[in-house]
Symmetry: D2
Subunit: 378 residues, 4 copies
């Protein structure tokens, strides 16, 4: 067994949601060891959070820049860092690590502004280090299965792509740590629901179909009085090559917890996937009965099997999908240790996928601001 990858974390202190998820994800396949952190913008909380996680006191930092500088100099300093802060910190933090050759595993969306996203792409390109974006839903085995089937032309030419991501937790005004920064344009960016969850649906549609978006028309709302960002968005999609589609995201639709769904229809067949039931993929070859492909079951192929841990019928979930992103990152980092490129077959969302996501958010905001005019993607 090769040595585990020494990992640091920026953000993710007590009370954070996604930081804990990253830590479990990093542990599941045992490829990482968390050894350093700048876990909070408040020094006291940073120290308390580090202690709670069992980090050494001298590797619990008050800010990420300090951590980047010192860890880069340590003999066994961190090889990679997870950035799990609100969006507006992503760019500044990632830059510090990239320029010191420390790999970055960053939460989505890439940044809170398009300008920063472009700068981050340059920073990543200028660095020898890897950049991994945790669009975690791309780690689900049945999503890999869907992607493989489409790449193998099992659906024929893609015509229709329906993506949606409704939630209900912001149906009324919410005030808590999770909601506060997500509804503050200074921290989340100009997109609300579109930046928090719409971009996941968009990324997943691109990932599964391999299509590129040509243009979009967006009609976004902020239904809750006083909310400064959208909490519901409707988007019509025109893909290069002729496919068409729609995307809906919402944080105000009662009865939807985390309802990311993707449906893709082509000349030869259709597939349907729901994030809340991720061990299933519905597949209909045109003119045949609908089939239920299960993770690890008959009909589930190599791409899914490569990222599965346990047999069919034993459900894997959100954390395992997230762990697969970490596992893919580990494959790339281990190869990088030996001076090798990302191995064939290793798949993870990159800084370029991140830029596409921010371009999507930006285009939605601009379109909606101009009465849903069609906006071309770059």
């Amino acid at each position: 067994m090769v040595d585990r990858i020494r990992l640091g974390m920026v953000g993710g202190g007590n009370d954070a949601f996604i930081g804990g998820v990253h830590r479990i994800a990093a542990r599941i396949d045992n490829r990482f060891e968390l050894v350093a952190g700048a876990l909070s913008a408040t020094p006291e909380r940073a120290q308390a959070s580090g202690a709670a996680l069992g980090l050494a006191a001298d590797r619990t930092y008050d800010d990420f820049k300090q951590m980047a500088i010192r860890e880069a100099r340590l003999k066994n300093g961190i090889e990679a860092v997870s950035i799990v802060t609100p969006n507006h910190v992503h760019y500044a933090a990632a830059r510090e690590f990239l320029k010191r050759g420390i790999h970055v595993i960053c939460d989505k969306p890439l940044t809170s502004t398009l300008a920063e996203a472009k700068k981050l792409v340059k920073a990543a390109e200028a660095s020898d280090a890897l950049f991994v974006l945790t669009h975690n839903y791309t780690g689900f085995p049945m999503i890999r299965q869907a992607r493989e089937m489409i790449a193998n032309s099992e659906l024929g030419d893609i015509r229709v792509v329906q993506a949606e991501y409704p939630q209900d937790w912001m149906t009324e005004e919410v005030q808590n740590k999770q909601a506060d920064w997500r509804t503050d344009p200074a921290r989340s960016g100009a997109g609300g629901s579109i930046g928090d969850i719409g971009v996941h649906a968009y990324n997943l549609a691109c990932f599964v179909t391999g299509l590129e978006l040509e243009s979009l028309s967006a009609d976004m709302q902020n239904f809750v009085a006083g909310r400064r960002v959208d909490d519901n968005a409707h988007v019509m999609l025109r893909w290069k090559g002729g496919a068409r589609g729609m995307l809906w995201c919402s944080q105000v639709s009662p009865g939807n917890e985390n309802g990311l769904k993707l449906r893709v229809y082509g000349t030869k067949g259709g597939i349907e996937f729901s994030q809340e039931d991720p061990n299933y993929l519905w597949y209909t070859p045109f003119g045949e009965p609908k089939r239920l492909i299960t993770r690890g079951g008959a009909g589930s192929g190599a791409a899914a099997g490569r990222v599965s841990r346990i047999p069919a019928g034993h459900p894997e979930g959100y954390l395992e999908g997230f762990a697969t992103i970490y596992n893919e990152a580990a494959e790339a980092i281990i190869a990088h240790r030996a001076g090798n490129p990302v191995p064939d077959g290793v798949i993870f969302p990159t800084v370029h996928d991140g830029l596409k996501g921010v371009e999507f958010i930006d285009a939605c905001v601009r379109s909606s601001g101009r009465n849903a005019v069609w906006i071309d993607l770059p």
Copy 2:
């Protein structure tokens, strides 16, 4: 028991789909007796179809005008007529019966053109006879339940309306009686999928929510080479009062048989309905667990019970929903015999709903033809 209503039929000869459906629907609750027909545009087929249905030879007509004239003069001539032809015949046929005081039960969409729709509204308004449009899905008990719940403010203020109606039977080029007229603008009208099924989804959304559409933006496609009308349509919806939504219909999405679905979300709760499983209504009061209301079961109220025939757990289906439209028509016709208005609580789609549907189709076609520009509804 009062006398059954004497019914004629225009269209619905051998090989037709919807004519047979109307006849079963008219029989289920035993309120109608089919006694006359002009069942086909071809005299030989009209006669053969009449004989097959057991109609008297002298009440089997070669054309609808002849039928209208003679039946109006008979002592026991028909009191009502079902018009089940392709769309382009609806207006001309309905007019003949309306002007002779014969009630009309007409298939949707109302007409194949907006001009005809407006004329038909006038004809209906000028007539003493009733006009019933068979937007049959409004007959489902769980749709009545949903409508009642929204009318009673159980969902609060409506914010989001998602309607969809995907099918797959036209994924490839199809040539048969059903497909031919539906893809011929001269017979179906300018709308293809939007006129055949999209209008059902639109009608259902209006019926359940009680909302009126303010404007729409439509992006429609005809994916199959050579097809002259749309076979897929994406529409963004802006409702009066501030609700927003999307509507998708498709005839080219493999794995979807007749996938009409409606989801409505308000400030206090959400509901979800799927036509293929019509005995269920999902209801989530915000902040409580999702509930499965079943036809006739606990939580199913008076509006649903009024149009149910059998106990909970014994599924009713498409034909029973269709029969409810006939039953509602019968209630109105029986009242009309006595010179009374439509009784309170009797609900059926009217010629005005039909006009709204044709306006919707027309607006979609115009919007899509102008790069999905927003079009105001009249």
Copy 3:
């Protein structure tokens, strides 16, 4: 079109559930005309019920024997009679019609006692008339599909049969017309839930698999204090040829409305069916993904198509399945008019199936009374 079959009805007066179901079922395919009835054991109610149904006064009878005698003498007397009374009346009524050559369509279970069931078999065998038992669930297209697949060896050798029929309406003490006779051994027979619904599950298992039961072990309960018959039953099944199974029925299981389910597993595949969603049949060929066969959809064959009315995606329900039994009866009766035997391919439950059902109930009652000892079926 041939003349409709002249039908009488015994039982089914106002407030009855199953009589109304039989009448709708007889109407749906327009093969029958209800012209006479002895609708209630109470003369006043019999007359009121006949009037409400539009029967002629002189064909509304106070008792079934009087009806049998007179109708048999009429020139256009009834050709068939539907018997929809509580169980204890079935034998006496059926006998009167059978001996006069009038076809009998009888509700299940066949009789309330085994002795009567045997006598009824003899009466039916002695008569030229047909006997049709309304085990209505055998009329579902997807049940026909399942039966055809097993007959065609698509499941290989059958090993395991799981049948269940839970309901919840008798969870507490119930006093109404439906409950009263079902819990009165003098009217329902010695079986409670086992005779009312368990026998449906048993019949369906036999019908679909073609297997014959060898022996059973039953453990039955009456959970509600004071209830004189079982309201829950567990049965282990040993089928001839080596298959094994279980059957559960219950009237006291909250959350189950009418949950008849059948699952059959063989050496080559498995199928699963649920009465509440009757347009679906799950089918798994061993080693392949699960397939969802839909009524009228791809994978749905000739046996299902023969008894379907409308296209895939347009759900048929309980009433249509029931109507299929009437339609099959009509096929046989029309052939009988011409002196012909039941046509090939026409399938309906017979008096012999009815005897099997009563033998099953009797065996369950005896087994349960003797601590679930194994009882051989005759």
Copy 4:
């Protein structure tokens, strides 16, 4: 953060299924550190497996006794051991650790014979160390929810318990590491499917309902020619206090991957749970609509929340449920370090639950061998 618990493992070498599951489960919540192992009965494979897991060479043992002796003497020797071998090794291995005060986390069933199970209970009672049995399904949040609801009398008095656990992977003869020992009575014990999966269903029914089984009647089969243990079992259950039920397990039912289901009905309501969709619990209060309680969602209470990691709508799966058993064990072990008893609210299956499971298997085998005679549980 307290020190992680030093963990050893017996069994679980390369190619094993359940060993890898235990290791992930032990990692997810970061309470354990795997530091020693006797991973295979073959020394070469034991060494290779240890190296693959990154164990130190001097803590990779050729047999479990050697490991128990040396680790007990080490200053920082293991505090706990996971036993993940085939069943026949459980007793001998567990005994060695228990008598040296090392906590045991053991896979199910407890042992391969009843005699060993009783001896293991004594060994555990004689030891100061803890004994945790990994009936992992008791770790699912929705199972904890169900248990809490029943304990709180939300279902009233329990009447009916339906448990089932069908699989299909042994539909045909299978020869591989997993199948070989499971079908060898010398290694698995006298029970085949009943010992491998039936006992899980039984344990879950007991865990959720709190009921104790009084007697059972079992009819078991070995359908595949040459198979030496049962591959399908039907069991009727009589619970103390009057509840009744059935249990079915099968390894030969095509279309079932890992279909553990539990349904419980009482005087006031019913619940339904399916292992393959573990984030859902169906709950019907009698006379109200069915509710879908989701992990972390509205209606999900403290018992479920205590063992959940992520918000509603983000599915947790099999590994997280398994990890909860490890987490509960950790709570108890940390308390034990300080000389404290198992903390209130910490719940895990014990050696006594294990004995009950083996008694159940033994009773099923004996009952089935005597024509399904009723057998009282001890």
